[in-house]
Structure formats: structure tokens, C-alpha cells
Symmetry: C2
Subunit: 402 residues, 2 copies
């Protein structure tokens, strides 16, 4: 497996485009389209928020048959909490895209991201769609990646290629993230394409497994949005024999390669988290159950006190231990060992003696910090990626709509 350039359009038979249709006042790109020339198996993972945006509801409907041709996405407006009007707007986006492409509307999926509760400027979008379709190209993946951004500073793109026998398979992905990133589908969008031939059922299994190890393991502020969507299209143009066996070597290889793409995108999302000055890996080891390790890692990652200490480069391990204790998971404080970077700061029930603080100061000043909590009671582990909580987080989110 090797990393390649080109993102979603590195994949056979995938064209994409991204334009500005005027939703964003800044004139930045805000409308993206991804189209597969052959009908593709499709799978999706969506927000678990009780309040689902209209495009999520419509995509969940259109995905049911497991086949799709494309995805239309806008940024700058979430089309959430807009009642029946919102749903009609999502339908209009899909209908006009389908009509312009000359395909059935049930084969088009839709996603939106941006401010919640403002009416979608549907006329602008409708005016934009013909131009968007016209711009579709085999190098349009980068434009699409830009057009789905909101407070993201950089676009997020990844792609890999691997061989199975004589067949060369490609997987490409784009994502947008920034604030509100949290498991149960972190507030984010990601669109993945691949030319592998795989049944919708197995594609769904692969995507869920992969999301659980990537997008569901990142957190910026613990909030889950109304719009979270991850979609994957697999158009079969690589020419492999259709994968239908979950226990096959082909399936395992595909999931590995997919994990590489989703993990890369997830890490990029965290690195570009709103106001982030640190990239922090929380690694909880030797737990009795994976779920326990995950709960503790998330409790640490979502603690504002831990996050502000990281921002202040303060090796305040008491807050980390306290946040672990807040997770609701049972463990024995006499058995745990906490390290910041490679420096052990807590073991045998108390802080270590000596000059640990001087050793750890350097670690705290790094941009990338790893916190490892060894529970000493089992064999399971979980890794969560997160950021610090900075002045800029407050600034960005205190004035998001102005």
C-alpha cells in the first residue's frame, strides 16, 4: 500500500468539482459535487444526534438500496432545524443535480455543513448546480475538498493505492472538521471513493469498522452535530472480482487500506481543530475492556481542565488522573501509571518524586503530545486524538456567526 496524490479523484471513474455559488459571504467555494461514472455500492455513517439535519434524513433514505452515483454538498449553511422547508430544499438540491446529470434522483446523496437555523439560500445553489456539473473533472477532487470547508484552515485529502493480485485498487477521501468534533460521529463530513468491487453489505461493515477506529476516536469539544455524515462510494472499476465474503483476504486488505485513509483524515481534522495549538494522543492501555479504555480516554480528552492545562503547557497530571476518575469506569488508583511523553509522572498511587517536572516541561512545549495511562488490570487499549482549549477556540466560537 502506498500513499498517492489526487484524493477522491485519484480513483478510477470518479469526477468532482467545487465552486462558489454565493452562500459564503467571503466568496470562498461552497458547493461540491462528486460523481461516479459507474453505479457504485454505497454506505454511510450518520450523526446520532436526536436532531438530524434535512440532508441527513434524505441521504439516509436514498442510501437504503445500497447504490448511488454521486453526492452534492454545500458548506456555509447546515440546512438544519428548518422544518419542512429544509427537507424540501434538500430534495431540490438532489433533484436538480440528478436532472442536470441525467440520472435518477434516488442515486444522489446530499450533505450540508455550516450555521444551523438559517434558511438555505436554495436559489443560489440552484443557479450554481449547472456550473458545478460543467466543472466536473478527473482533477476536481481538490476543489471539492475546499468547497466543503467551514472554519477549517486547511483542506483534508488522503488517498492510497494497493495491489491485490494483478488488480490495483485505489481509495481516496476528503473531509472537513474543525469545531464540534466528537465520537458518535464527530461533527464532520467525509466522502470516500474507491474503485474496488464490493457488495453494499460488506462496504457498510468496512465503513463502520473503519469509522470506529478513526472518526469516532477524535474529539475537539465533545459536541456532536446535527449534520455528521461519512459516505463511501465503491464503483467496481478496478476490475477485481466482487468481494462478498467478510472472512476473505481481499476484505481484510481493503479494510486495512480504508483505515489508513480514514485515520489520516481523522488526524488532519484534529490537527485543524478550532483554535488548536496542540495535537494530543490519549492512549489508555491495559484496561479490562476496550469500552473502558475508550471511556477513560474520552473523559480525559473532553475535560476542559485538561485541555486548558495543555494549552498553558502545564503538566498538571492531577487533572488527568481526576478526569480518568470521572469516566465512570472502575480502576485502582494504586495500579495506574501515567506518562506524559515518555516521562512517568504518577505511579503507585501518587506523583513520582524527583525532577519529573523539569523533564516534562520540554514535552509540554512540543506541538504533539502523547499522554499514556496504563491501568495495569487487563490487556485492552484505546487511542483518542484531541486538541487543547485555547483563547482562539473561544474567539472562533464566540463570534461564529458574525
Amino acid at each position: 500500500m502506498k500513499e498517492i496524490k489526487g484524493g477522491i479523484t485519484a480513483v478510477k471513474g470518479i469526477r468532482a468539482s467545487g465552486i462558489s455559488c454565493g452562500i459564503k459571504k467571503t466568496g470562498k467555494k461552497d458547493l461540491a459535487l462528486i460523481v461516479s461514472e459507474a453505479e457504485a455500492s454505497v454506505a454511510g455513517v450518520f450523526t446520532e444526534n436526536r436532531i438530524k439535519a434535512a440532508p441527513v434524513i434524505l441521504s439516509q433514505k436514498n442510501i437504503k438500496k445500497g447504490k448511488a452515483r454521486g453526492v452534492i454538498v454545500n458548506s456555509g449553511n447546515a440546512n438544519a432545524c428548518m422544518g419542512k422547508t429544509g427537507y424540501r430544499h434538500a430534495e431540490e438540491m438532489v433533484d436538480l443535480t440528478a436532472k442536470t446529470l441525467g440520472i435518477s434522483p434516488e442515486k444522489i446523496l446530499v450533505a450540508s455543513t455550516g450555521v444551523i437555523g438559517d434558511s438555505l439560500p436554495i436559489e443560489k445553489i440552484k443557479k450554481g448546480i449547472p456550473a458545478l456539473v460543467k466543472k466536473l473533472s478527473r482533477i476536481g477532487g481538490m476543489d471539492a475538498a475546499e468547497a466543503i470547508m467551514t472554519t477549517d484552515i486547511v483542506s483534508k485529502v488522503a488517498a492510497v493505492e494497493y495491489k491485490y493480485g494483478r488488480v490495483s485498487i485505489r481509495i481516496g477521501g476528503i473531509a472537513k472538521g474543525s469545531g464540534m468534533i466528537y465520537p458518535r460521529l464527530a461533527t464532520m463530513l467525509s466522502f470516500i471513493t474507491t474503485d474496488i468491487a464490493i457488495s453494499p453489505k460488506l462496504l457498510n461493515i468496512a465503513l463502520k469498522e473503519s469509522a470506529d477506529k478513526s472518526f469516532n476516536m477524535i474529539t475537539v469539544d465533545g459536541d456532536t452535530s446535527t449534520n455528521d455524515t461519512v459516505l463511501i462510494l465503491a464503483n467496481g472499476l478496478a476490475g477485481n472480482k466482487m468481494i462478498t465474503d467478510r472472512n476473505s483476504k481481499e476484505f481484510t486488505l481493503f479494510v486495512e487500506a480504508l483505515n489508513h485513509v480514514t485515520t489520516a483524515l481523522a488526524r488532519m481534522i484534529v490537527r485543524d481543530g478550532e483554535g488548536a495549538t496542540k495535537f494530543v494522543e490519549i492512549n489508555v492501555k491495559k484496561a479490562k475492556k476496550i469500552e473502558d479504555a475508550k471511556k477513560i480516554a474520552l473523559s480525559i480528552a473532553n475535560s476542559n481542565l485538561v485541555k486548558t492545562a495543555l494549552f498553558g503547557e502545564d503538566p498538571n497530571w492531577g487533572r488527568i488522573v481526576s478526569a480518568a476518575g470521572n469516566s465512570g469506569v472502575k480502576f485502582d488508583s494504586d495500579k495506574i501509571k501515567l506518562s506524559i511523553g515518555k516521562v512517568v509522572v504518577f505511579e503507585n498511587g501518587s506523583g513520582v518524586k524527583g525532577d519529573w517536572e523539569r523533564n516534562v516541561r520540554g514535552v509540554m512545549r512540543e506541538k504533539d503530545i502523547t499522554i499514556t495511562l496504563d491501568l495495569g488490570i487487563g490487556h485492552e487499549e484505546a487511542k483518542v486524538w484531541t486538541t487543547d482549549l485555547s483563547y482562539d477556540y473561544v474567539k472562533i466560537n464566540g463570534s461564529y456567526r458574525s
Copy 2:
């Protein structure tokens, strides 16, 4: 019932003191003592964090027989995560206090608050205790209130008096809070005294009920500390007949008066939350169950996106609705009605039309803001008090130990 001055020492037979023994580098008061001249019924509520500080463990042990004479408290150091040394230090605090007062150590409770993981400067405390005992007085409640503060800006003191028949009963309380305030016993300390005669069993019931409506309904940043402690001493000097019946009028009256004190202290804690520029009441109404209402209110109150929007005076109701949707509680978005102040901003499944934003701008600029979410499906409600998330929160918590 009327509010009176004097806090904990407004109560018959209660003396208190607060001094500086040198734990805080600033020279501010850091050691407090509360003593009842008669043996008192005692009850406590403690942190549910898996990691419990040594003084919590010792107080939980000493409280078991339901009788106590006093409480020694230090600020500036939490005596948490210090292993066996920490527990020995807590014992030494209790032992020396008891000895100096000439009473049994099992009758003394202990609490600590401050930085986690630094060794308690026990020699300074031991030098301070004789002076602290000497300063005990019937007007020392204010000094004690000051001596338990950490990042608190103001001391928190409340007291009430009410009559039952010919007997006049008083209840006084002090508290400290600021960061890390969260239910399951918000990271805070509170000490309450009363001269009512009541059995330890009923005192315990009264305190738990009262804490659930006050200290457990406030949140600043969703973290629960290792040291949270609420203690109440009831010394019986008011001269009423000992209350032993939960269904008695006397008990109901007492709980009402106690609620008045705990609610007042809880609101003071929120108002003084770290970096708080707003006091926000989240009121969830017409839920099916109280627990549902509470979960939703806390999900809104603990959302960093809602908190930063409040700081930015941005009436971003989409974040409030989204946070409610994140609570895990089922409700119907078409039935909910959301108001900021008295202005309805969301109903019938979407944002209201017209000039709501102009009307709500004024509300957002107020220091006190009430957010009301009507679920429209039941008859239960819950109120949670919280603050916004400001630059100063990040500043205070990014440099807490420097």
C-alpha cells in the same frame, strides 16, 4: 423564614476561625476551623470521582457514626493523589486539631482544596492549628469562608432563621467553588451548621435531597473533582424536640429552609465561576421524567459551543437545540419550543420567522440569561445553573499552577 447575617456562626453554639498558615504563597487565609460546642448530628455528601482525595476518605470514615464536633479545612493544596503519605497527612491534621481542642479525633472531619498532586505542607498546617484554635469565635464564620477559597473571587455565605412553634431555628452555610463545578457533587466544598435537633439518619436524608436540588444542579465545566465535600452539623441547641419522623411538618420545614441556604450558595458558586461573564439558567420543562429534563439541561449547560456563544452574546439557538439532541434523551423536534429570555426562537420544528434576532440581542447582553426549553411531552422539569466560557476561563485554567 428570613435571611440573616453571620453565616455558619449565626447558629447557636458554633464557633469558627480562619487564618493564613503559609500554604498559599500570596499570604491569603488558607486554614479554617468550625467547632460545635455540643456534639452534633452529622451528614455528608462526597465526590463520586473514582479518585478520592485522602481527606475525603478520612471524613467518610469518621462520619459513619453520625456524630461530630468540628471540621478542619485547608485551601491551596488538595492533598489528592499522594498515596499513603496523603492519608497520613489528613490524619495528622485531624489528630492535632482534636488534641488541641481536647476532643476525640473521630469527632473531627477534614477537607482540602487546591492543587492536586503536590505534597501537603503539613508542618505549616501543624504550626497553624494552635493559632487557629485560639482564634475560634462566634464571629469567625466570615474568616472561615475566606480561608476555604481558591480561585473564588468572593466568599460565599448564607444563613436563615425560621420559627417552629416557640423555637427559633437557624441554618448557616459557607461554600467555595469556581472551576470544575459539576453535578455528582460539583467540585466544591460547603459546610453547613444548624442548631436544630435532628437524628443523623434524617439529617442525611435532608442533606441528600437538598444537594440534589442545589449543588448537583450547577455546572461550570463538567468536571467533578477528587475533593468535593458537603458537610452539615446539627447540634440541637435550638431546643426543639429531636426530629425523627420523615413525614413530620418539622422535617418538611427544615428541608425547605436548608434548600434556601444550599440553593443560595450554589447560585453564588456559579456566579463566581472561573472567568464567568454570564449567569445562565437552563430550564427544561414538560419532560416525561425529571431525569430526562436534567440530562437535557446538563447537555446544554456543558456544551462548549453553547457556552462560547453565550460569551459572544450570539443567540445561536441551533447550538442549543443540537446540544439537547446530544443528550441521549428521546424527544420530538416538532414539539419543542425554545425561548431565550422571553423571546421564542424555535418552535414547530424550525426557527421562528421575523424579527426575533433583534428582540433577543438585548436579552443576550444581560448578565443573567434564562434559556427555556419546553419539550411539550410531559409534566416534569429541571433547572440547571451555569456560566459562559470566556477567554478568562482559559487563562485561569491554562496557568493555574504558575
